[in-house]
């Protein structure tokens, strides 16, 4: 075919545009990368990921896994990543629960409740998250007493501007057998619940299933407690010269970030839940009422399951945003991935690699969240049959 004929063919033309576009993007990327590499080499700036194996030499205040300054930069990054995941996942769970309740309450017929919820949502959604983080952090460190005058809520439970301290449980033996028993018990109880539900749907007669569920849950734990030696101690917090030592600590940096992320997420979730519920036809609610379902049951059995189909796709966005927003941690001293990367950047002088690395990690986290939510969406979406 001659080029003229090709040019007249719409499909070929479209393909050509696409190819040129890809070539330009790849070309630009390659140009920028090679330029950066050439400049780095010319200026004798070290490159590569060799630094990951070198000793980190700094302390991290929150370590979900064992970490010492003598560990490597790679392990320090892992600690930062786990801190990011910890705070983001917790705020997503809490934010979704609070947000759903707020979203439903926002449509309450009680004007006081619905207005209050309106205020909650608007106040949280219209001020940048960073300012809230500063606010919560300042509230914690300036209004609570210093650690020497810590408030004892209960014996062994202290609140101060250095956070919340509770007695820690120390397992000398029996930890794994009890954990296994709890897992088994939960699985048995849930299984029983499913069986009872299927029987109810099949026969139409419902009987209280919960006593059996409770027995199924407690039985393995009781058996484990009898069979294996359980040896548990409490590590009580004690006021040392400067700090409360011992016990389990909830640091103010973590609490402020969790609070900020949770409230921010909950406000957005509330609006999404409200829009999802409003999108369900009025007729559905009226039909449920005509069947004699009280409002609460109508919401739980009729409205919410349908609304979920509308709610889930935008929720994915909120969750991904929460992950990314957790990087604001650096402003209030919570050692997340970005903060650890920054310290590493300062110590090694290499900037491009740590930034590339944490961009990759965030990309991965976002994609994983999307994938999980898409899977769930496929689960609840209306099936075309």
């Amino acid at each position: 075919m001659s080029p003229i004929v090709l040019l007249r063919d719409q499909r070929a033309r479209e393909l050509a545009y696409q190819l040129i576009c890809v070539a330009v993007v790849v070309g630009c990327g390659w140009y920028l990368l090679s330029n950066a590499l050439a400049n780095l080499a010319r200026q004798d700036i070290a490159t590569g990921f060799n630094y990951l194996g070198r000793e980190a030499g700094f302390i991290i205040s929150e370590t979900p896994i064992a970490y010492e300054p003598s560990d490597s930069y790679g392990r320090a990054l892992l600690v930062g990543l786990l801190n990011t995941v910890k705070v983001a996942v917790l705020s997503i769970v809490l934010g979704t629960i609070i947000g759903t309740l707020v979203g439903i309450a926002r449509m309450s017929s009680n004007p006081l409740l619905s207005r209050l919820m309106l205020l909650y949502v608007e106040a949280l959604r219209n001020v940048p998250l960073l300012l809230y983080l500063f606010l919560w952090y300042s509230v914690i460190i300036f209004t609570l007493p210093s650690v020497k005058q810590a408030i004892a809520l209960l014996p062994g439970v202290y609140v101060s501007n250095s956070g919340l301290v509770i007695p820690a449980v120390v397992w000398h033996s029996g930890f794994w057998s009890i954990t296994l028993a709890v897992v088994l018990g939960t699985a048995a109880a849930l299984g029983w619940q499913a069986v009872a539900r299927r029987r109810r749907i099949a026969t139409g007669s419902s009987q209280a299933g919960w006593p059996i569920a409770v027995v199924l849950f407690t039985l393995p734990i009781a058996v484990a407690a009898l069979l294996f030696e359980i040896n548990v101690d409490f590590d009580w917090p004690v006021l040392g010269k400067f700090r409360l030592t011992g016990g389990a600590h909830l640091k103010p940096e973590f609490v402020a970030l969790l609070l900020g992320l949770t409230l921010g997420t909950s406000a957005t979730v509330a609006e999404i839940v409200r829009s999802g519920i409003l999108a369900i036809g009025r007729g559905q609610r009226e039909a449920a009422r005509a069947l004699g379902l009280p409002d609460g049951l109508a919401m739980r059995l009729v409205i919410l399951p349908q609304a979920l189909r509308i709610i889930v796709p935008p929720l994915t966005n909120v969750y991904v945003t929460t992950f990314k927003n957790s990087s604001l941690a650096i402003a209030i001293g919570y050692p997340d991935l970005v903060m650890v990367s920054n310290t590493i950047m300062n110590q090694t002088g290499q900037a491009i690699e740590p930034i590339a690395l944490f961009m990759l990690v965030y990309l991965f986290l976002s994609l994983a969240t999307s994938m999980l939510m898409n899977w769930y969406n496929g689960h609840v979406a209306l099936k075309g049959r």
């Binding site: 630009c28 200026q43 302390i59 210093s146 501007n161 310290t343 300062n346 090694t348 002088g349």
Partner: protein, 340 residues
């Protein structure tokens, strides 16, 4: 749509190309062609670099910039200040955004060897210290076992602390802040028992507090921090200009040449003063500068002692003593090489 993408691509290419060409010329030529020096300073540190209500910068690091600008142009005001934060300061220098970095930056081996930069002489011999509230009743950093310590993520601060406590077999809780204000708030609120930074910086933090008398800087210096200006690597001439401008300040103090007496000193019989001020010999022209460069620096900026007293000394809010930042013949570390 497509044409737009092409234009963007072309713009990116020219941008990249222009960065490359900008660096090909020597820094001195670039600065002279531009008509002013661009100097990277800190984001606002009392005594080192702080803009006043009129936006005029003052401080020790700022005066180093002014000395270099005066050496090149004979005018201390032909300099623009760029505030650099602790994470981007070296990139700003590497990329050519600034001509010289004068920002409380410690000269270390790995920075010199791996960042593509060169350092001038140390302008201030500092060391990392710890500050606590007097009410804590602590007299030594070694008594801080188990304490919470606030610090900025910068540099090697966190590493030095970890090293010091490990070496002494002590533990501590580290709280790191990106923003100096949050760092200071956390310390003043009692979230942390101590705050750690370079001693000069601790003096700045203390000076900015409501009641400076309530805080004490502990005697231990846990690291060596020679603060030095930095320039891009492989521009020997420009590095010489920066180095000798700094040494000019020190030599002037050594020879007793001050801002007020520099005009009389033009008639001095001392051959070294004559060479420094450009009365005899033309040392300046060897660097590509005016022969009166030394005279100009001292006339407009003063000597090292005047710079120190004006910005950091006992009479200022910081109230720092000269310490090791005294001339060699008075027991200090300042040792300007001979001007000949």
């Amino acid at each position: 749509m497509f044409g737009k993408a092409c234009r963007v691509a072309a713009a990116v290419m020219t941008l990249g190309a222009s960065v490359v060409t900008a660096q090909a010329a020597s820094t001195l030529e670039t600065v002279k062609a531009r008509g002013k020096l661009i100097c990277g300073v800190s984001m606002g540190t009392t005594g080192f670099a702080l803009a006043d209500a009129q936006g005029k910068f003052a401080g020790f690091d700022v005066d180093v910039c002014r000395a270099i600008a005066t050496a090149v142009f004979g005018d201390p005001n032909k300099v623009d200040f760029v505030m650099t934060n602790i994470n981007t300061r070296f990139q700003a220098l590497q990329s050519g955004e600034i001509d010289v970095l004068s920002r409380q930056t410690t000269l270390t081996f790995s920075r010199d060897a791996s960042l593509g930069i060169d350092f001038g002489p140390a302008v201030f011999y500092d060391g990392q210290g710890l500050m606590v509230a007097k009410s804590l009743g602590v007299n030594s950093a070694k008594d801080l076992d188990g304490a919470a310590i606030c610090t900025l993520p910068g540099t090697t601060t966190a590493q030095n602390l970890a090293d010091f406590f490990r070496a002494n077999g002590k533990k501590f809780e580290l709280v790191v802040f990106e923003n100096p204000d949050e760092n200071n708030n956390a310390f003043f609120s009692g979230r942390c028992d101590a705050v750690s930074s370079d001693r000069s910086d601790l003096a700045s933090i203390r000076a900015a507090s409501k009641s400076p008398g309530d805080y004490v800087i502990l005697p231990e210096t846990i690291s060596k921090e020679p603060l030095a200006p930095a320039v891009r690597q492989n521009d020997s001439n420009w590095r010489d200009i920066v180095s000798w401008s700094v040494w000019m300040l020190m030599a002037a103090e050594e020879k007793g040449v001050t801002q007020t007496n520099v005009d009389e000193q033009l008639k001095s019989e001392d051959p070294e003063i004559q060479r420094m001020l450009g009365v005899t010999d033309e040392l300046g022209t060897m660097l590509g500068l005016d022969k009166a460069w030394g005279y100009n620096i001292i006339k407009h900026v003063g000597n090292y002692a005047e710079m120190f007293d004006r910005n950091l000394g006992e009479q200022t809010a910081l109230g720092l003593s000269r310490g090791p930042n005294t001339l060699w013949n008075a027991g200090g570390l300042l040792y300007p090489p001979p001007f000949r």
